[in-house]
């Protein structure tokens, strides 16, 4: 079991690095998109408030939560492998 715990700890650290990288990148992308959208014209109001509001929307969006797949997908893969290998 010790080996299993060690595997989970290492995997958690590695996946966390990927998670942080992806969330920073995606936030940056979302901001870029908002800026481009505003600069294309046709949007009323102040540029900063528009972007701030868009980012607040992004904060609670499904798109942001999908990055959690970085943890969920490997966990599901390992669980499936354990089931298929040992119980099927």
């Amino acid at each position: 079991m010790i080996a299993g715990i060690r595997l989970f700890v290492i995997a958690f650290v590695v996946l966390s690095v990927i998670y942080v990288y992806l969330s920073i990148r995606q936030r940056w992308q979302a901001r870029n998109e908002l800026e481009a959208e505003f600069d294309a014209g046709g949007v009323e109001g102040d540029r900063d408030t528009y972007i701030e509001e868009g980012m607040r929307e992004y904060q609670s969006s499904l798109r942001r939560k999908l990055i959690l797949g970085v943890y969920v997908v490997p966990l599901l893969v390992v669980a499936t492998l354990i089931y298929v290998m040992n119980y099927m």
């Binding site: 079991m1 080996a3 299993g4 060690r6 390992v78 492998l81 354990i82 290998m85 040992n86």
Partner: protein, 215 residues
């Protein structure tokens, strides 16, 4: 330089192929002749043996299950049957003893063969005394059933996609960062060469005057 480059590429490709060939699952159709266990003391072939059974303490040597089989072409193949546990390769195999029971149950004679499929990874090598590790056995209808390796197809396609993406990223990075840098360096080097040429001309003029030789 070109030979060095292509040799390196060839070596990398060869190791990648060997790595995948060793670690990905393959299926054999065999007839199980017998099962046994024997003590092993892995030495220089340690890499090709599993670690201790999941949950047990590590010792110097241990007993390992083996499955003796005859392939469809009549030649022998011997599989080891070991836990991979939580380690590499990531098969998460903990049911070694159950697998040994199933394998023993599928034993058959030459006269009345019961063909079975063995899923395994690894290599058989007589010189290193290494054996492929069986991960599953199940009975099949006959010696020539076809099985499509879906798992390997999916894994290899995913791997190819990841490699392609990495290649693209490196290429883009090169275009954006390294090529401009090289251009700068080339220009700088050109300037250096111009300077050197001019200095060389001046110097040869000086020496020419000194020695009295004219170009």
């Amino acid at each position: 330089m070109r030979y060095v480059k292509w040799t390196l590429i060839f070596l990398v490709a060869l190791s990648a192929f060997a790595f995948l060939n060793y670690n990905l699952p393959q299926k054999d159709i065999v007839r199980i002749a017998d099962t046994y266990e024997k003590r092993v003391d892995p030495g220089e072939n340690t890499w090709f043996w599993g670690s201790v059974d999941s949950g047990n303490a590590a010792g110097v040597n241990r007993d390992v299950f083996f499955i003796q089989a005859i392939q469809t072409n009549g030649r022998p193949m011997v599989y080891r049957n070991e836990d991979t546990g939580w380690g590499w390769p990531p098969y998460f195999k903990f049911d070694t003893s159950n697998l040994q029971a199933e394998a023993a149950d599928l034993k058959s004679t030459k006269e009345a063969p019961q063909w079975v499929a063995v899923r395994h990874y690894g290599w058989r090598n007589e010189f290193l005394s290494i054996y492929p590790n069986a991960v599953a056995v199940w009975p099949v209808a006959g010696p020539d059933v076809t099985m499509i390796p879906w798992f390997n197809i999916i894994v290899l396609v995913l791997l190819a996609l990841i490699l392609l993406r990495l290649y693209r990223m490196v290429q883009r990075f090169r275009e954006r960062r390294i090529d401009p840098m090289l251009d700068d360096m080339n220009q700088a080097w050109d300037r250096v060469e111009d300077h050197a040429d001019a200095a060389g001309k001046r110097a040869s003029g000086f020496w020419g005057r000194l020695i009295g030789r004219r170009k």
